[in-house]
Symmetry: C2
Subunit: 384 residues, 2 copies
């Protein structure tokens, strides 16, 4: 072991009490010495992804946020509506560290040559508890970033890049030749547009405003359908027919959209059919729900035959399924293209203290498409 080893660092915690109260706080945690095959990373960038928000705020009502505690050690509280407490049962009274992924500088390393080789390098890391000044991880688990990459550049190297690559990989492995993406103007959606352009994969983008149509057209998207347009169903039908897409990845989850996509796929398939089957086409049509921007019920008006599926899709089970070698290929592509295909854009960079500011919470909890916040846990604390 060598390098600079701090004694302690701040970590953000989220706690939902049995009494129905969310409590966010900053706690001092000891910084452990890295083991032989481990590294200590000073985290300088960690995004607030939708998946982080779920853990950070739980089912709390953001309009009830209050800040107390001391200026140095703020404590934010908010009320969790009683009817939402059931879904929180698994985490009650447990103080949880937050932050799926991040990037930073390796400030100490274990004795192994693999760990030592990373000292002073900028690396991307994943594994939770990244909303913290320091984080120890296995050297083998980090993603070393190319020379000239900053922690802010590399902060989002896993969730969005691997999710968008995973969608294209799932499409291929399950025998489809084109795909649909909803909430497509998101950071992830823009990555997917770039991947599909590079790979020559037809992609139908569903967005929610004319401005988002413009945004995606500007980065080269071919099929962009605006669900706010009166011609949406017709536009979607044409794009599905032209692209041949039979699998969709849906970040919205609630409402009738998943079913509309299936119905549009079925109509596109049947338009080419020559024989009537009352069970519909035999072409399997699939929608994977990977997010829940709309937490209301998924409503499927079953007008798309019998060869269909709707289900959950998550990155980590997908990576487990494809195996270490295939996953490594995806990671290598992310590192190589981190400033181009997989570049993320942030609305604002915030400190841990600002992460607990009611105004800032109100802003990032909106989950507005295309708006994204980056936490720098060492901002204003002498680290970054």
């Amino acid at each position: 072991m060598n390098g600079h080893l701090p004694a302690a660092g701040l970590q953000l915690r989220s706690l939902i009490k049995r009494s129905g109260e969310l409590e966010l706080s900053l706690v001092d945690v000891d910084v452990p010495a890295p083991g032989a095959d481990e590294i200590l990373v000073r985290i300088e960038g960690s995004p607030i992804n939708p998946s982080d928000l779920g853990l950070l705020l739980g089912a709390a009502d953001v309009s009830t946020v209050r800040r107390a505690g001391t200026p140095d050690r703020p404590i934010v509280t908010a009320t969790v509506p009683p009817k939402a407490m059931g879904a929180m049962a698994g985490r009650l009274d447990e103080s949880l560290a937050v932050g799926n992924e991040g990037a930073g500088v390796v400030v100490a390393a274990g004795t192994s040559s693999e760990a030592q080789a990373l000292l002073g390098k900028v690396v991307a890391v994943i594994g939770g508890a990244m909303y913290a000044q320091y984080r120890v991880v296995k050297a083998a688990d980090c993603l070393p970033l190319p020379e000239g990459t900053t922690p802010a550049d590399g902060a989002s190297s896993f969730v969005n890049p691997l999710t968008s690559l995973g969608m294209v990989e799932t499409m291929r492995r399950e025998g489809h030749s084109a795909l649909v993406h909803t909430a497509a103007a998101s950071n992830l959606g823009q990555m997917l547009v770039k991947i599909c352009l590079q790979d020559g994969v037809p992609l139908v983008n569903i967005v929610r405003s004319p401005a988002q149509v413009t945004l995606l057209r500007e980065i080269g998207a071919t099929y962009v359908c605006d669900s706010s347009a009166p011609t949406f169903v017709e536009d979607l039908g044409k794009a599905l027919a032209a692209s041949g897409a039979t699998v969709a990845f849906d970040a919205i989850g609630g409402g009738t959209l998943a079913g509309q996509i299936l119905a549009g796929m079925e109509a596109a398939v049947n338009a080419k059919a020559t024989v009537y089957s009352r069970y519909g086409s035999s072409v399997h049509k699939q929608v994977y729900i990977y997010g829940g921007l709309d937490t209301s019920a998924t409503v499927l008006n079953r007008s798309f035959g019998m060869a269909w599926g709707v289900g959950g899709w998550l990155l980590f089970p997908f990576l487990m399924k494809i195996g270490a070698e295939a996953a490594q290929k995806l990671r290598a592509r992310v590192a190589a293209e981190i400033k181009t295909t997989f570049a993320s854009h942030y609305t604002r960079v915030i400190s841990l203290d600002e992460t607990l500011s009611p105004d800032v919470i109100a802003a990032y909890s909106k989950r507005a498409t295309g708006e994204k916040y980056l936490i720098n846990p060492n901002k204003g604390l002498g680290g970054g």
Copy 2:
């Protein structure tokens, strides 16, 4: 070729006109001479399965049924509501023969030894157009029934027996160890109870009345949950926990039941979990919708994590997927147990003429669980 060869026979036809009218009729069709490897079957039993009703009546409003034509050649008409015409687009102005499966006596056979061996035998057949006096099929496609089996005994040898066997086979192939079935008091549901008892597979039966609970208890069912009971959710939760079921087959399709089943499965899995994951358990939970007794939307309140799927399930794609050898094993079991495990019970046996009677249509179109009609196309016509 030898045996008795009639010149012509009656066949039931269903037609939906572009004008929005359903027309059911009986037509005289030529009876072809069977080819070398074919047999001619005098159909004496063909059930009205829910899947047949879909083709027979389409989206017609049964309350508008009128009978005209002549006593010998009745013509029944009914109105298809304009908003339902979209779903009928694939079949407009095409006169369709109806009846998925049936059984009868082989009255003529082609020259091949396989065909000749069936002459005079009672066989079960599948392939559509069974609501007819005569049907030519490949000898290899029929299921010869054991000595002493009548056409009425064997009329339902395919759809329900193979569907219920297919459910258990799907459960095994997809790594589950117990299953759930809805509308479980049906003919198919009773078969499934018997299969699962024989095979030692835990089965959670969901029924819709106390009388149906009694019915299934009497044939030995262990877990029976009545969705009309105030304790249903609790009862289902207990049965899911006790059985460990993580796959369900749902004949209802519409409403919130599929989602309730997934939520109950997730709760049962989580009750045994030791670590909190905000994505829910990693155990895949699946509901296959194989029928549409409730044609309203499937409403999924997503409170069951991310490892889930809902999709369509159909017998024929399943049989294609498992291959000819595996399918043949299932068929052999059906023939051997046609009077026990796979015995069907019919509310009434009706002629082709009665099939076109408004009163009878009103009765069989209700799709009442446990009520089933058998058509004998040769009843009252000198055949049966």
